[in-house]
């Protein structure tokens, strides 16, 4: 991930910003090279980076995280605050003054900065220009470095190996939660840092995000297994769908349409492609066969966030470049009956793309023989 600070600096200068402030777990992690452990779990413990156009940088963390931050952070100037007696936003104001960037403009995560902190910052700097930095960060993080690709490649493979184990071990009588436990075990044994899982069986396969329950798996159930794991804070997203026993003609027909639509969109996956066109070709094929896509995107970028740009959807004119990592997830839900979903991760290369999830294949619906 060497180069993150350079990429952010470049974007900052391009927009004429004096400094860039981040508060979200993923954007702070992008700058400092690791994730402060309590950052995603405790929002009272604000974690903030300040980067200036002239190359200064500081990290503001709660005092209990300062020791680890001094060891791990790429940003070496670590300021800490007491969670109960100090306001981190006041520390931020001090840093902006000290770095002589309080005249602005400042790139600010206005889609994350809480309103209360915003109003406090306004007390310090009534006229400071705060420019929303969401697009800037998404642009900086869009093309992955070789280190980032290595983490994504590894966690994609681990997640796909877990799918292989899941489909080898699954059987009638097991519960959704028991299947989830097998997958969890595999991801951790293979070296993943953590994960969450969506497992939906029978009518629950028709729920968009089915958290595993004690529902038992029965013969003829459609089963949908989605793995969302992480390594070095980089995320994976891999999904497979199968049937316990024999699939029906209706199920095979739906799956074939999904896979044809995916193939057409994969043929266009290369540098220079406009993401809107990928969506259009996918959605058109689905609709031609009477299937309305159940979600309004074909896939999404993936990196420090599970969902990031490029979302492959109808209103995005982003042009693909080598080094972008994204998912394709053809998706068709029949609420109350069943659902169909396959998700793979692809790296855009100079020549076209590389599939990062080739351990298992789901070209046809998986059929699990009775055992």
């Amino acid at each position: 991930m060497a180069g993150a600070l350079d990429r952010l600096n470049l974007e900052m200068r391009r927009e004429g910003l004096a400094a860039l402030v981040a508060l979200s777990p993923e954007n702070v992690a992008y700058a400092i090279g690791y994730m402060v452990p309590s950052h995603p779990h405790n929002r009272a413990r604000r974690t903030i980076t300040v980067l200036t156009a002239d190359g200064r940088s500081a990290l503001i963390v709660v005092s209990v995280e300062a020791e680890l931050a001094r060891q791990q952070s790429r940003v070496k100037d670590v300021r800490s605050y007491n969670q109960f007696t100090e306001k981190p936003i006041d520390v931020l104001a001090d840093v902006l003054r000290e770095f002589k960037v309080a005249a602005g403009p400042i790139g600010m995560e206005m889609d994350f900065l809480p309103a209360l902190d915003y109003l406090r910052l306004r007390e310090h700097f009534p006229t400071l220009e705060l420019r929303p930095s969401r697009e800037l960060y998404l642009r900086a993080r869009l093309v992955k470095s070789s280190d980032e690709i290595a983490s994504l490649r590894r966690i994609a493979e681990i997640s796909d190996r877990a799918e292989a184990v899941a489909w080898r071990e699954v059987r009638a009588g097991m519960t959704e939660k028991q299947l989830a436990a097998i997958i969890t075990n595999t991801v951790l044994e293979e070296g993943g840092d953590g994960l969450r899982l969506l497992v939906g069986a029978g009518e629950r396969s028709g729920i968009v995000n089915p958290k595993p329950t004690d529902r038992g798996l029965g013969m003829d159930d459609v089963i949908r297994v989605e793995v969302l794991a992480n390594l070095n804070n980089y995320q994976s997203n891999v999904t497979r769908t199968g049937v316990l026993g024999q699939s029906t003609t209706e199920q095979r027909r739906i799956w074939a349409v999904l896979m044809e639509a995916r193939s057409l969109a994969l043929e266009r996956l290369r540098p220079g492609a406009v993401v809107r066109d990928l969506w259009t070709i996918y959605a058109a094929h689905m609709r031609k066969h009477g299937l309305e896509p159940s979600i309004s995107f074909l896939g999404h970028g993936i990196g420090l966030s599970g969902h990031e740009e490029p979302y492959i959807t109808s209103d995005k004119d982003l042009v693909l470049e080598p080094g972008i990592v994204l998912t394709y997830e053809p998706f068709y839900m029949m609420p109350g009956r069943m659902g169909f979903h396959i998700e793979d991760m692809f790296l855009v290369t100079e020549q076209g793309y590389e599939n990062l999830t080739t351990v298992t294949t789901n070209e046809t619906l998986i059929e699990v023989a009775a055992r």
Copy 2:
């Protein structure tokens, strides 16, 4: 959890609010009785509840979550939006108008509402009084219902069982991650919904929040295992500390002081106690023996959030009541060398308290025989 809407309604009337708006995963979950799956993971998918003093309610969710919301939500009026073409905050504005509460005052999660949404809401309602609702929610959620206590009791026990397995299975040569995998497996097998873990061995036991790494466990290492699991969105937090092999005199002395300080603070744990006094007696005993507490609280409330009120710290005058669930976590870090930490969960009862984590005990430092 029956009664959450009643508790919120009571607090709303007490503060003279026309309505109460929530946006955070825990406060939305408290109102609707389940957690929208993508809510904690994708902040582009804002999830919002509106409750009015005269008893109306609505839930605003991204369209892909609407199906599940209609099945599971206690709030039955579900409004959905398209993530790419609509602004959820505009839907909120429409609901406030429709419910005739746009004259305010509105209780608002100002510590969560993003600045961008705040400014958009100001365009709709330039003079509407938005009153920060953090304290209101913490008060409403402070005393747990019998359903909430049942979930907390169960996940506390499951987490403690996982500690028992961890300390039975741990041995030299294993890595922190391998130990974490054993614990994960146990929590899921016992029926927990998910978890994260902190495992620190040797000098890494002296880091406040040590995410498990590939570091191998060696003889004489201090090992700290913290389990943070969840069931029905209710959280646990259980920590044990031990040594591979024999503990040293220094280690036993530190542990004894921690446990004496804890005992003194447990003697005071009952309805009517002021949390500040619990901290004071704990900190005074630590300091008398030359140990400065490494974190500025003895423990914290636990429920839908891993950390919530009451934080047991020097500036809190909150008075305990039956039905409060909190942790005690005596904590002493020696950065670069080792760290000591025990954390249990307690329910405040009419008579005093009940320890929810009695599967394992850590009255003395755990010593793991070579094997």
